[in-house]
Point group: C2
Chain length 125, copies 2
DNA sequence: GTACTTCTTGGAGTTAACTCCAAGTCAAGC
DNA sequence: GCTTGACTTGGAGTTAACTCCAAGAAGTAC
């Protein structure tokens, strides 16, 4: 799969795909003999994984480290696990914050709805 | 309350507080006769609200609009509600994404734990 | 009444994460 | 064998959201 197709498939610009590879956010992608990127199944799995993680805000820096550890082989499995555990903690904490804000928004919206309804009533009285 | 105290209280730098005010993310804060910011209760409520919303990623631009609408008076209550409803939708959608990623991380971590435990066993056999 | 500290403003600088661009290469169509 | 179009690279530019800075004023300690 060439870069145009991958770009479509993952809804990431070609520039973003190249950028991710450049900075080590995904491992180096396969090339044809003439140097053109030709994404393998595994390349695609990396892109999908990174897009997914970036989508919920895991920092590029952290993901670069993960990919780096991965490329160093089995010895780094412990470190990789620790990294994921830490990110999971962060994610949970952010979700907790969001849950609270969501409640607050629900509340605020309900109050707006009530005052607006109240005003309507008064107007038509 | 002067800016140093507000900065402490909300854990936002003085620069951030001034910046928020400058761009209209919070309404103009009260001044002493000599021009020094003196946060009232209401100013504080705004700061707290904005910090809270920014903390879960609501865009500055959107919050500026909300504050702007607020300052235009009761006529804008409908618009303010709509804005909050839209942001709630966004928030819910992001939380949904995060829930999925959380499951994925749980899975990945479990798998790491299993392979690491497996290797330990082999080593000590 | 002068030194010190804390504030003021407008504007410049920084950071993360892309996004765009110029110059060049290569395969395909005619 | 020349044009076209999709690709390559390294590097510059952009955006959102701060963060820092210089110059100056104002209250406080002595």
């Amino acid at each position: 799969m060439f870069i145009a197709e991958a770009s479509e498939k993952f809804d990431l610009s070609q520039d973003t795909l190249r950028y991710y590879e450049r900075i080590g956010l995904i491992p180096r992608v396969n090339r044809t003999k003439s140097g053109i990127r030709d994404y393998t199944e595994e390349d695609c799995r990396w892109v999908e994984f990174i897009k997914c993680m970036r989508g919920v805000g895991l920092p590029v820096e952290v993901l670069i480290e993960y990919v780096g550890l991965f490329q160093q082989g089995d010895e780094t499995k412990g470190a990789r696990k620790d990294l994921l555990v830490e990110q999971r903690k962060e994610l949970r904490s952010r979700m907790e914050d969001m849950k609270n804000v969501l409640e607050r928004l629900d509340d605020k919206i309900t109050r707006y709805e009530m005052t607006i309804a109240e005003r309507e009533k008064t107007l038509h009285r």
